[in-house]
């Protein structure tokens, strides 16, 4: 397949060989699981259990609330010990509502929904509903409820389901391993999703640094004419949705539009596998593969982890720390978030846990910008980080907004490449946060204004109606009008 170039990008040290040849191993069931109600983008789930309840594996323990939300299921059988506040896997380390489950060791499945006998004959809504009920979210890290994206086919004509197997973040190998060990499950999931979306074509994009995955997936896809496996260049951030779509289709997603507007829907490979489990076996998403790696980890591994296992459990399973980690990162080193505590649990979007040494992070004090222009050259979004940063440093966020800071995808390439070690992407994340708050405030005040206007209009109308009614009851005017006087 002809590929199209994408702008900029970087070639960081990938360091995937620490785990790429390590087969997926299951984490022994920890003593307790901590299942946050919010593991996805959207509204948190609403809890359905209380302390003391006995639950079975796969039983829904929190239901989705609203259109963009996702339910949670018990990752194993056991007893609910509490529904309480526990540190979230977030840089702030702030507590969030979490269900604590004490496994009983039996790992007994609940009565699961019936498998969908012939998914390719099923109504797309049936598949959508099953994916929604199964708590499946985007497993590449963003954790957007997958069912919402599967529904796009009902709104517009779609051409391509693009499975993202780029895995462009350094260190991470969980998608690589899943593709190498469960290719048939991914292909089946992809076909089901393509059916639900109504896309005639499936493209699986994999970066060239995963030759085994490319070979295995190509072989698994060979039976299906509509599926094509494409080796894409190794160029961070190739796994960015818009950039992968551009590399494969040559189409550039307009600003403020979705790739779906171009007829392309992107899902992660592991998400396709979760869809396969949900549709074929009725199994909800209760576990995921997490890459545990980094120079400070004694035995880096790809670990099949029940949702809710503490990060400390994973670290312990991987032999603990061989060296003092400078940072422990949730996700990849480029876009991942620092963890404030190892007590936080693994969630559906946790692709990696990296314990990194100071040497790997290579952090240095910031020095003044020397205007080398590297950030401008490598920005995959065509922005001018040096100029935006200058505005943000002076707190002139309007200026940064005009230069397109809201178009930044926070890939971190500019920070990575900056010889002065200026935390550029941190500036942009700050600016985006503040600008979003301002925008929300503006929207709120606009809404209040509209409501007030409507309210006044209604009161006026009511008053007028009242006057009219009064006039109708007393038809004879007590005071003659000027006209009547004149005619009299």
């Amino acid at each position: 397949m002809k590929l199209y170039p994408i702008r900029g990008g970087i070639h960081p040290d990938y360091r995937k060989d620490q785990t790429s040849e390590k087969a997926i191993v299951a984490l022994p069931m920890p003593a307790a699981l901590y299942i946050p109600l919010q593991q996805h983008i959207g509204a948190p789930a609403e809890v359905l259990v209380s302390a003391g309840d006995l639950v079975k594996k796969g039983q829904m323990i929190a239901r989705s609330q609203g259109v963009i939300s996702s339910p949670q299921h018990a990752p194993t059988s056991g007893r609910i010990t509490a529904v309480t506040q526990v540190a979230a896997p977030h840089p702030s380390g702030l507590p969030q509502s979490t269900i604590i489950l004490e496994p009983d060791g039996k790992d007994e499945w609940a009565d699961l929904p019936e498998p969908i006998a012939d998914p390719f004959a099923a109504d797309p809504h049936t598949i959508h509903d099953r994916v929604a009920q199964s708590g499946i979210v985007g497993m590449g890290g963003a954790a957007f409820p997958s069912a919402v994206k599967l529904n796009l086919g009902t709104q517009k004509k779609l051409e391509i389901l693009l499975l993202n197997g780029a895995e462009c973040e350094p260190y991470l190998t969980c998608d690589d391993r899943v593709m190498r060990e469960f290719p048939a499950e991914i292909i089946d999931g992809a076909r089901i999703m393509a059916h639900a979306l109504g896309t005639p074509k499936v493209v699986i994009g994999i970066e060239q640094n995963k030759p085994q995955a490319i070979e295995i997936m190509t072989k698994a896809a060979s039976a299906f004419a509509e599926i094509e496996v494409v080796a894409v260049p190794v160029q961070y951030p190739m796994g960015s949705e818009r950039h992968l779509v551009q590399a494969i289709t040559g189409r550039e997603t307009p600003a403020r539009k979705l790739t779906a507007d171009l007829g392309v829907v992107v899902h992660n490979v592991a998400t396709a596998r979760a869809v396969h489990h949900a549709v074929r076996f009725g199994q909800p998403l209760v576990a995921r593969v997490v890459t545990v790696s980094g120079g400070a980890i004694r035995e880096p591994k790809n670990v099949l982890t029940p949702i809710g296992a503490r990060i400390a459990d994973l670290v312990e399973f991987c032999g603990g720390f061989a060296a003092r980690p400078e940072s422990v990162v949730n996700g990849g080193p480029m876009m991942g978030q620092p963890l404030a505590s190892l007590e936080a649990p693994v969630v559906k979007g946790t692709s990696g846990i990296l314990a990194l040494t100071a040497e790997e992070i290579n952090n240095h004090p910031t020095s003044p910008c020397i205007r080398c222009g590297t950030c401008v050259t490598i920005c995959p979004c065509g922005l001018s980080p040096v100029e935006m940063a200058a505005f943000i440093r002076k707190d002139k966020l309007d200026g940064a907004a005009k230069l397109g800071v809201m178009d930044c995808v926070s890939c971190g390439s500019c920070s990575w490449a900056c010889p002065s070690h200026i935390p550029l992407v941190h500036y942009f994340n700050y600016a985006k946060g503040v600008l979003r708050v301002l925008e929300n405030e503006q929207r709120k005040s606009d809404r209040v204004k509209t409501l007030a206007e409507v309210h006044n209009l209604r009161i006026e109308k009511a008053a007028e109606a009242k006057r009219a009614a009064l006039a109708a009851r007393n038809p004879a005017p007590t005071v003659p009008t000027a006209e009547e006087k004149a005619s009299a």
Partner: protein
Amino acid sequence: MNIVTLSGPFTHASNSVQKTMFTVLLALIPATAFNFYLFGWPAILLFTVTVGSCVAVEAACLSLARQPAKTVLSDYSAVLTGWLLAMSLPPWAPWWIGLLGAVFAIALAKHAFGGIGQNVFNPAMVGRTAMLVSFPVVMTAWVMPHPLFSSGAPGLADAIAITFGGHLPDTVSAASALGYIKTELSRGIPVTQSMAHVPELMDMALGYRAGSLGETSAILILAGGLFLMAKRIISWHIPLSVMGGLFVMGAVFNAVDPARFASGTFHLMSGATFLGAFFIATDYVTSPVSKKGQLVFGLGCGVLIWLIRTFAGYPEGMAFAVLLMNGLTPIIDQYTRPRAFGRSSKGEPLPLEKP
């Protein structure tokens, strides 16, 4: 457990400002070493004085600004400025030219604007032009090559007399090729005739000619420039557009009137063309950040160099051209921003093409 929470990314390229500056210094070594050999001890002394003065002035400015002198000095930027300034001076110029040039370059052009990264104009070129405008005689006192240890080359004692005593022997003075052509033209002698008296093209390229302390060897400077490109410190955009602009102007006008205008090749090989194109105009701080902007900037430099060399009072125009374009850099930056992903060059979202 106590973990340091930094913000991402949690990995970084192995580059730094210090490494960048150091690599540029490395790239300058061959051309500089050759010119040390060519112009002997006085050149080495002047170079030492100039670089030393730049570092001293930088340290003084930092201490005035109450900044940590040690950490900032270790970025080698003052050394680089001093080195480039020295390379642009006549090799047997007296010590005070190096010192005064350093004051103009570091104190006035760099620290008065806020230090590294803040200056609008190339510090080394500000230093050079300030000296050229103030002391035109001293700054155009060129000498023919006197290779080290050759007969007639000044020994260390003679060199000290030349650099620190101001005893420039009358007999050694020479004109640069650019200066010679210009003088002859003013006497009514056409370029076609005067060209017979400038060094052969090959000698010019190798660097066996009169000229500034570091500018004579086009080949060694080119080697340094290619090394910087291989190291991804600079890209081809500025060097090629500077030389392209200059060459095209030279070639076109030479074709029109060869008696009045020197050829494009002559312009490329003479003066500070290579040094300027690879090491001066490419200065990060004072050139545009986008590749498109760098092309505009380079072309502007090339055309201005030709204009100044051809029509202005000075035989060489590199420093002036670079400074003029430095002044335009903020405007060039503003008009040559890359097109954002998903947007037109005007910043509007792209129209949605129907699949």
